[in-house]
Structure formats: structure tokens, C-alpha cells
């Protein structure tokens, strides 16, 4: 069971690393937010699944099962909260007048509409 848990944890760390690469390398705010929003959510859920599997591997007592349920609860909370936070920041940025990056510098749409 600990081999499977280690694989899950390594997968979560990999998705965190892709999020950091996206934050550092992408050209504008919206693409950076896309990288970190998705990579973070999947990484957290994988890492917490692996950790709760590892916790169950040391025996099925009541305390162990309770801690594993709490770990999965944190995962479910992040699965709901992280996209919500991403959406709130993106909406704030768009309402402040930040426009998506294009290669030739032309705006992709006419905003605010006349």
C-alpha cells in the first residue's frame, strides 16, 4: 500500500511543479492563472489521496479511519474552493480592465461593449 501512496504523492508533486513552470513562463496573467488553477487542484487531490492511503496502511483502527476521512475532507474542500478562488481573481482582473495577451498586440474583443 505504501508503494501506491508514494506513486500518488509523486504525481501530486509533479503537478505542483508544472504549476510553478506555468507561473514562471507564461506570457500574461490569464494563462498563468490557468496553469496554477488546474495544476494546484489536481496536485492537492492526488497528494492528499496518497497520504490518506498511507495513513490507512498502518492499521484500520477508529482513529486512523477518522484521520483519513479528515484528509479526504481537506481534498474535497480544495476541489471546491480552489476553482472558486481562481474564478474570483480572474473576474476581478477582467473587471479592472486587464486584457488577454495576443502576439500582435491587438485586443481579442471590444471591451467594454458600446
Amino acid at each position: 500500500m505504501s508503494i501506491v501512496a508514494a506513486l500518488f504523492i509523486l504525481g501530486g508533486t509533479f503537478f505542483f511543479a508544472t504549476g510553478v513552470i506555468g507561473i514562471l513562463r507564461f506570457p500574461d496573467f490569464f494563462s498563468r492563472m490557468h496553469a496554477t488553477g488546474k495544476g494546484d487542484t489536481l496536485g492537492i487531490v492526488l497528494l492528499l489521496a496518497g497520504l490518506s492511503l498511507y495513513n490507512l496502511g498502518s492499521g484500520f483502527s477508529l482513529a486512523n479511519i477518522l484521520v483519513s476521512i479528515k484528509l479526504m475532507l481537506i481534498g474535497v474542500f480544495w476541489f471546491l474552493a480552489n476553482p472558486t478562488a481562481t474564478h474570483a481573481i480572474l473576474r476581478a482582473a477582467f473587471d479592472s480592465g486587464l486584457m488577454p495577451w495576443t502576439k500582435d498586440g491587438q485586443p481579442v474583443l471590444d471591451w467594454p461593449p458600446k
Partner: protein, 88 residues
């Protein structure tokens, strides 16, 4: 397995250090928010891993649950606070 958790925590700390570049040099204020907000999920993961290293996971899991609630609320408040029409 404790050494494995230690290595994973060190890697996550290194990722926090890289993402702080965007928090310091970000061109807009929203880049700074995501650069610092990236720390929240990593710090929560490091808290759970530290709980497994010290074998006190029953205590640390509550701390990380409270920390993730705080992160969510603070991100929403930042997004509301910096929203200003035509600021950029």
C-alpha cells in the same frame, strides 16, 4: 518513508521559493496575488507532511484544515479589494 516525506517537503519548499519570483516582480497586482496565493496550497501540504514526519498527524490535520479555510477567505477578500473599474 519518513525520509521520503522529508524530501517531498523540501521539493515543495523549493517550489514556493520559485513562485515568490512572481510575487516580487509581477507586472500587475493580480500576478502578485497568484504568486503569493500559490504558497497557500504548498504550505497546507507541507503541514500534513510534517505531521507524518513527527507521527502527530491527528493534531496537524486539524491545523491544515483551518489553514486551508483561511487561505480561501483571504483570496476572496484580495480579489474583492483590488477590483477597481478601469484601473489598468
Amino acid at each position: 518513508m519518513e525520509n521520503f516525506f522529508l524530501v517531498i517537503s523540501l521539493i515543495l519548499g523549493l517550489l514556493i521559493l520559485f513562485s515568490l519570483y512572481r510575487g516580487i516582480f509581477g507586472p500587475t497586482v493580480f500576478d502578485r496575488i497568484i504568486g503569493v496565493g500559490f504558497v497557500g496550497s504548498k504550505a497546507m501540504s507541507i503541514l500534513v507532511l510534517v505531521g507524518f514526519i513527527y507521527k502527530r498527524i491527528d493534531m496537524f490535520v486539524d491545523i491544515s484544515l483551518a489553514y486551508s479555510f483561511l487561505f480561501f477567505i483571504s483570496t476572496l477578500v484580495f480579489a474583492k479589494y483590488f477590483q477597481k473599474k478601469g484601473a489598468m
